[in-house]
């Protein structure tokens, strides 16, 4: 579920593409029941209590990679642009608009005047320049790689920021919408970086409250918020409640308003007269990675055979309790350029037999499947795959390592098959495709060693193609190639699950996983 870290070397691979993402083709976001029709007049005040499994790690928006932290500091720190509700495009937030030079090398961004930080000082172009430069500076340890194409940021006047690029790079606006480019006061208001993030100051609807690590983190309404009338809530408290059953009971009992990520197994029982069990379309793809550095996975027939043995419907049923859909493509339905007709391999006994007979190991073999320990969903998936492969004489040992060791084993290619997942952070497929198919991206093609000249060429071309139609065609081809080569066995697309108390209104989660709380309100 957690966001992956791209390494620095992916910088060069990151996209040259289209800004007009929202205009591009893309399948309908699947499995949604997220749309909320909340009537009534918003009520002022109240404390929203979010019960979540883990505590946030840090409020540092340029160095932090875990979703719990990200969803928290996003309530305080805002970027110039933001992702649209459907997760497929961007819209101005602190920016008023922008213009692009004819050579597509210079972006001139106008800021909305009169925006104040929670401290009361006005936000100016100097703050924006400092924030973007600061993000770029930490490219090797943080999110700064995303700014790889930026040559220089300047602040010619109070409300104008000019971004000069090294080469044409259309997803700039999508990248500027990433939380790591959120605007903080110039020079951290005179503080050191560490001191500043102990109590961060931003332009968001909420400002820093207090943090009792391991127990709760509280944010309070920002009285200086630039959108008058918002936020409706007086405060938000993120309580750490590791046990899923306890979270459920707290929301049902009224001690908490939102249950973040209820277990799918109990998801149905989360809902009651007072609680809505909600799913929101996401960009999560769960997959089996085949390590091609280990035999026999360098053999495309073995990968295709295994892909054809896995019963995805069973996994969707046993793991997601039918709340997700079987995956057919490298891209997710919530991502621009997803192609619904991609011929991803599904369970097909005849194909599995045929591919096995063509493979280097027609009589089967023994291998292992690596999963992180303590993950009930992955353990269930692994046991289903184990039993799916057994009839073909492929004996799978399930290997469990604690989450950190599991991650290291994947990165160091010390595994044979592994279960993993990806969610998008920006509304552009390139973040994922460069990670997944381009070995030069530094991640050895999602740690599989997959190296297909065709796939690499298609991905690079798609990065540099500005025309959305041509770009869509390239991504179609790329999805077809990866469906055929099966470097990953695509398993399922899972939505985000939330238990939301029925007195909470307007709570929405974007396909990238974040949830703005400015217009959320609580009825009495």
């Amino acid at each position: 579920m957690k966001r992956k870290v791209l390494s620095l070397t992916t910088v060069g691979a990151l996209a040259v593409g289209s800004v007009a993402l929202s205009a591009c083709s893309g399948g309908a976001a699947g499995g949604a029941s997220g749309a909320q029709t909340d009537g009534g007049t918003p009520v002022k005040g109240g404390n929203l209590v979010v019960a979540r499994a883990q505590d946030a790690k840090s409020m540092n928006n340029i160095l932090t990679f875990d979703n719990t932290s990200i969803f928290t500091f996003e309530q305080m720190l805002q970027p110039l642009f933001t992702v649209t509700a459907d997760g497929k495009g961007t819209t101005p937030l602190l920016a008023k608009g922008y213009t692009i030079s004819a050579d597509k090398m210079t972006y001139t961004i106008n800021l909305k005047p009169g925006i104040k930080f929670s401290s009361g000082t006005e936000m100016t172009s100097a703050d924006v320049k400092f924030s973007i430069d600061q993000d770029t500076k930490y490219a090797s340890t943080g999110w700064g790689y995303i700014n790889g194409a930026i040559k220089q940021v300047s602040a010619p006047s109070k409300y104008v920021v000019v971004v000069k690029l090294k080469h044409p790079w259309a997803p700039l606006i999508a990248d500027l919408a990433l939380f790591s480019n959120a605007v903080v006061p110039n020079n951290y208001g005179g503080k050191t970086m560490d001191a500043f993030y102990q109590a961060p100051v931003g332009t968001g609807p909420f400002k820093w409250g207090e943090w009792k690590r391991g127990q709760y983190l509280k944010l309070v309404a920002n009285p200086n918020y630039w959108q008058t009338g918002y936020p409706h809530l007086q405060s938000v408290t993120f309580n750490v409640v590791p046990d899923s059953n306890t979270r459920k009971l707290q929301v049902q009992g009224g001690q908490a308003d939102i249950d973040e990520y209820p277990d799918w197994s109990t998801f149905q029982s989360v809902g009651s007269s007072a609680v809505n069990a909600k799913t929101f379309p996401s960009t999560e793809l769960d997959y089996v990675a085949f390590n091609e550095a280990k035999k026999p996975f360098q053999d495309v027939h073995v990968r295709r055979a295994i892909s054809a043995m896995i019963d995805r419907q069973s996994i969707v049923k046993a793991v997601l309790f039918n709340h997700g859909t079987a995956a057919n493509s490298l891209l997710m339905p919530g991502v621009p350029f997803y192609q619904k007709s991609t011929p991803g391999i599904t369970k097909d006994a005849a194909l599995a037999k045929k591919e096995m007979s063509l493979s280097s190991v027609p009589n089967g073999f023994s291998t292992s499947l690596l999963i992180p320990s303590g993950d009930a969903s992955k353990l269930t998936t692994a046991q289903i795959i184990q039993s799916d492969l057994k009839p073909y004489n492929i004996n799978v040992t399930i290997k469990q390592l604690d989450p950190t060791a599991n991650h290291n084993a994947q990165q160091n290619m010390q595994y044979e098959m592994g279960l993993s997942a990806w969610t998008m952070d920006i509304p552009d497929p390139d973040e994922w495709t460069s990670f997944a198919v381009d070995p030069a991206g530094g991640a050895k093609s999602a740690y599989t060693n997959y190296s297909s000249a065709t796939a690499i060429k298609l991905n690079r071309e798609a990065e540099q193609t500005v025309d959305p139609t041509k770009r869509a065609a390239l991504y179609n081809q790329l999805q077809n190639v990866t469906a055929h080569d099966a470097p990953l066995a695509f398993l399922y697309y899972a939505p985000f699950a939330y238990g939301v108390s029925s007195n909470v209104h307007k709570f929405q989660v974007t396909p990238l996983g974040n949830y703005p709380l400015a217009d959320v309100w609580k009825s009495k």
Partner: protein, 292 residues
């Protein structure tokens, strides 16, 4: 577990004369314990014959069913029969519990006897090593070892052996220190018998009873270790049925299908109770007061 592990000597009633004559089968705790453990072992051994289904057989259409005629205790997330998994789980847990005690028992007792009998620098070296192992919390050490060795049955044996020999060592050493000052040992030594012979033939039989009594509670401890490791996902590799992983798998359903987690828990408790009773009974039966 410390309460179970506490060594008890029989000092009840102050009537050693009458107790001395009581045969083992009149020892209530011992008999009760043997019956309980006997039934558990029998169920485990006969599991292939009496369990209604293959414990690994998945049937996703029948997942998460309540108790019924076909599945007496219902089915789990993958549609596997809970009763069958419970019975097969006993095989794994009991087998490892009993086997894992052997090596630490032998190694720890021998080292403890040597340390206690010879004293001096041998004692100092052995006991400082014991102190080092004692300084770590048991589970921390076992988990660290399993993590290094990789999960699986062999690692569990190894980890338990490496950690739990120290208890036997301490117990036997203490007993030997007392025993070596006793007249029969002094006599044997003055009679010119070799140290090894004195230790093996005269001291050994008189001190081993405490270690045997402790071993009973240690089996419970080992079962707890296996169950804990299973619960943490570091124990027996799936899909093998095992009580700890059954509890762990069922945890997410605790508010809806509570029996799935509670039943393996009860199995652990009953086994623990049986072994505790045996330990208690053996303590009475083998205590030095009785044998005097």
């Amino acid at each position: 577990m410390s309460a179970v592990a506490t060594l008890r000597r029989s000092r009840r009633g102050g009537q050693p004369a009458s107790r001395r004559l009581r045969p083992w089968y009149k020892n209530g705790s011992l008999v009760a314990g043997l019956i309980i453990v006997g039934i558990m072992v029998l169920l485990a051994v006969l599991a292939p014959l009496i369990s209604p289904d293959n414990p690994l057989h998945q049937n996703l259409d029948q997942a998460l069913q309540g108790p019924s005629g076909t599945h007496w205790l219902g089915t789990d997330k993958l549609g596997r029969d809970v009763l069958s998994r419970l019975l097969y789980g006993a095989r794994v847990d009991l087998k490892i519990g009993f086997l894992a005690v052997l090596i630490p028992f032998v190694v720890g007792s021998i080292l403890g006897a040597i340390a206690g009998y010879y004293g001096g620098w041998i004692d100092i070296i052995i006991m400082r090593v014991v102190d080092v192992f004692y300084a770590f919390p048991l589970y921390l050490l076992v988990i660290a070892l399993v993590f290094v060795l990789g999960s699986g049955e062999r690692s569990i044996y190894l980890a338990i052996a490496l950690v739990s020999w120290v208890s036997y060592c301490k117990i036997v050493r203490g007993e030997v220190i007392v025993a070596r000052r006793q007249e029969y040992v002094q006599a044997a030594r003055l009679g010119g018998l070799k140290n090894m012979r004195v230790l093996a033939r005269h001291v050994g039989p008189n001190v081993v009873s405490q270690a045997i009594t402790y071993a009973m509670s240690d089996i419970i401890m080992d079962i707890m270790v296996i169950v804990t490791l299973g619960y943490l996902g570091l124990g027996i590799t799936p899909p093998t049925a095992e009580w700890g992983s059954m509890i762990s798998d069922a945890q997410e359903f605790i508010t809806t299908l509570w029996w799935m987690a509670v039943l393996p828990g009860i199995a652990v408790v009953i086994t623990g109770l049986g072994l505790s009773l045996i330990g208690d009974g053996l303590g009475d039966l083998l205590s030095p007061e009785r044998r005097r």
